[in-house]
Symmetry: C2
Subunit: 220 residues, 2 copies
DNA sequence: CCCACCATTTTGAGTAGTCAAAATAATTTC
DNA sequence: GAAATTATTTTGACTACTCAAAATGGTGGG
């Protein structure tokens, strides 16, 4: 049975692999896990010895098939728990990431399956993040973002890839939830500012970085 | 924040205190936690240093007020989670103890309160064990058991103080659930055997030890 | 009263994970 | 193409558990 620590290393590696081509640099893992780089080196070596990752010294790490399988299991738990907390316990979507961070390591597969059934086998969590299937399939689609989409065209928000409670509260206050329809009215690269207009309401200004964390698809 | 280990030591200490007058012997804790006695000694000394228990060398341990407060919190999580698993996820009562053992250390007070509300603030878990209140009150009543109650009189089962899955499955198969009405028709001390009759059905034979784990109150 | 037996404690050692800080390698800069 | 910067690795040390096995202290029987 993998320890909580191992599960966290694998999960973050999976998450980082989504936004990194090839190997994940040690430094990225180090900041994601909030441990010093030396610790990551030590730990990654032991994960490699266990056959869960491949370590290319001075270059980076990546999951093996076995490591990825485990990581997908943890991610599935995380996202199903988040969905449960929002849909059944009516918690705010900005609070559930922190809770799921703990519960993902304590919940058994049996309980998870019951939860999954209770929720009607959801495909995504409340942030629009895809939930890995029971058999380790992860629907990973490449979406445009509010930082890259064409101007003026109506688009539908599908996913918010930013977990910080502050950002999620801000997003919700301005109606920037998965499913919402908006238009980007202006994008000022010099100022790093994106202006978003939703059907009824004030325009909202976002940093380019923030806009890049909101994934969209063409509406209508 | 107390570690999982500390939470377990405190919880078991609270449980053992219920069935032990005065100090809990180190050996009892050792078997309850499935660690060697030397480990318990070491650990208890550090709990004592943290002000969570009082350690009388060569005699035993007991919780301080602070330790008891923490232990009650853990027990509340355990029993509310069990109730949730049975009532909402429809799991079998024989399976939920093991699950709750893990979840009790991962669930936050916020989530717990939501769960409590969802369940309608239950007073007991599916085994009839009382759930400590949010403010650390534990209804602890002394009941008779099937090993001590008068013969032939109708009695109502209120609580099964035995967590092993095998026993609980056996109990359920013979209708020995909290709320059930039965009569003890025979008690043979020499053979250590108790015979129980429920309204419609075959008589059930129990060991004296098992009967002592089934708490009852006079029916009607 | 002494011995044997029991529970408990001590001692020494191991594992998993972490940090701080020095050493090393790779990359960028000039 | 050497020097400076930055990322990574190494080293040594620490915390929180844990076990095995030896030492110790009470208790109860003869």
């Amino acid at each position: 049975m993998p320890s909580v620590t191992v599960e966290n290393y694998l999960k973050h590696l999976l998450l980082l692999a989504e936004e990194t081509a090839g190997l994940v640099p040690m430094g990225a893992l180090s900041t994601a896990l909030a441990v010093v780089p030396g610790t990551v080196t030590t730990m990654v070596k032991s994960l490699a010895a266990a056959g869960l990752v491949v370590h290319r010294p001075r270059q980076g790490v990546k999951l093996t098939a076995a490591g990825r399988r485990l990581a997908l299991g943890v991610l599935r738990k995380h996202r199903l728990v988040e969905t449960f907390l929002v849909q059944v316990l009516k918690m705010h979507w900005s609070a559930v990431n922190a809770e799921a961070e703990q519960l993902e390591h304590a919940i058994s597969d049996t309980v998870l399956d019951r939860l999954d059934a209770l929720l009607g086998h959801p495909a995504t969590d409340p942030h629009g993040d895809p939930i890995p299937s029971r058999h380790g399939k992860l629907r990973s689609q490449v979406y445009a973002t509010l930082a890259t989409c064409p101007l003026a065209r109506p688009v539908r928000l599908v996913r918010i890839t930013e977990q910080s409670a502050e950002f999620l509260q801000f997003a919700e206050q301005h109606g920037l939830l998965p499913g919402a329809s908006v238009r980007v009215t202006d994008r000022n690269l010099a100022a790093g500012l994106v202006t978003v207009q939703r059907p009824r309401g004030q325009p909202v200004a976002l940093s380019l970085a923030a806009a890049g964390r909101i994934l969209i698809e063409p509406a209508r």
